[in-house]
Amino acid sequence: MTSTNKLLLEAKGITKYFGTITALENVNLKVHEGECLGVVGDNGAGKSTLMKVLSGLYKPSKGALFFEGKEKVLESPKDSQILGLEMVYQDLALAGNLPIGENIFLGREPTKNIGFLKFLDFKKIQEMTNAHLDKLKINVKSADQKVEELSGGQRQAVAIARSTAFNAKVVIMDEPTAALAIKEVGKVLDLINKLKSTGVGVIVISHRMDDIFSVCDRVMALFQGTNFAEAQLDKTSRDEVIGWIMGKK
């Protein structure tokens, strides 16, 4: 079903060396509009390295990235943001001392200009935050609440809201439910489904089979830095995917 949708992001033959260590070798990856790709693999399989290549944090030693069919070279995370490629980091890249709204727009705050001076437009930040949270149906008491006052699930929701505040086309999530209480996992997974329904391509890196099987359309496994296996979700099973992680087909 998803293969008919527009191809958003494609990585071809990505290879990454760190000195003499080969972290990734000839890895391919595709994600379509409104599709969720699950990436699984054991520790050290190369998941994080691959995500850092996709977000522009690392430059690949070999291989190329294509965004909506055009080859792109990412020099920094800023470049990937401009393309509409956003990361949600495992350690929740939020500043706890700042309110929700200021976190969502951190680094890209709307400003009011008085002469040559630029002042933060707090009213606009609040309006945009409320509109955006409403769109994603994220419930918080107020956009002015500090992030450190939120629960783990709410923080993750804010992190996801942050990643999609600027018309993201592809969102990459690193272990989005790892730090959450069980009752909050469901809310985050709902949010991922909501993103998909708005046409965003999502890549979820996760150890949790429950996550993969409740939101993903396709799953691929990395093993020792290479593509090991890949399947549409309805054509595989948990046991098979767990086998892939351990290097068994």
Binding site: A93, A95, E102, R108, E109, F119
Partner: protein
Amino acid sequence: MEEKDKKQESLYVKLIPYFEKYGILLLLVLMILVMHILQPDVFLSWRNVTNVFKQISWQSMLALGVFMVIVTAGIDLSVGSIMMLSLMILAIVAKAGAPWFVVALVPLFAGLLCGLINGLGITLLRMPHPFIMTLGTLYIFRGTGNLISGGTPISGFTDEVRYLGHGRIDLTWLGLEKSQYLPVSLVLIAVVYFVFWIFLNHSRTGKWIYAIGGNPSAARASGINVNKILIIVYSLCGFLSGIGALILAGRTDSGYPNAGLQSELDAIAACIIGGASFFGGRGTVLGVFAGVMIMGILRNGLNLMDVSSFWQQVLIGSIIVLAVYVDVLRRDFGTRK
């Protein structure tokens, strides 16, 4: 479950943010009241109040600079030395007979340059902690100040140079007496603090300074150039120390080797009393002002009561510990773990 959470939020919890913001002002008002009761004739007299402001004038500049650095979870130990070096350069330039506006601008540039050196050292040399870089420059800048001046005081500046630290704004047109003047340094404190309040709270750079203190990796992931902001912060801190030097030149009419000795510790103390957190991202300009005032009033009040300066040290130290303990308690209530 969320309904339950809301109910549990009592009035007490709702008051916490206000306490966080204005609690320190409460302490300040309380101190003023106590001092007034103890010294009813003198403490709130025009002469004494302006005296307090004159005494805290240059410290308040150092404290504001150090505060910005502390917000980024850094530290600047060199502000006292930056001020001394800037003061010595001012004195030498003044003695060489430069016009007054050159003499007045030179310490500001010198301070800015010293701060820039700190910032570049911390970011480009990748010092493991700003403590180390600024501990180094604490010695380097003071040593340089002594080298260029020969370690002897240089006195005698023109009135224009002394204006910020020594100038008086006449208020007789308001029907007040001649002795009831407004010190220029008081106006300067108000202006500088207001400008930096705007900068930290209403500019992007100011917001990013707080963000870096809150979570540097989040700031970096948001595309903020963390190193650039840090260099700006340390440079501004140096610049404020340069203003401090200009004020001190006015007050003392002299460049002297012991200027600003240990004043970096006073500056840090004022920030901590004012509610800034060493872990970064927390604290307000108003809080720092209150911190500076509390230390100034404490010293002034204890002097009025003829309490020995040894007791002043003990009291200021106790207030630091107490203020931070109150902050620890507040945090236990205020945020989820």
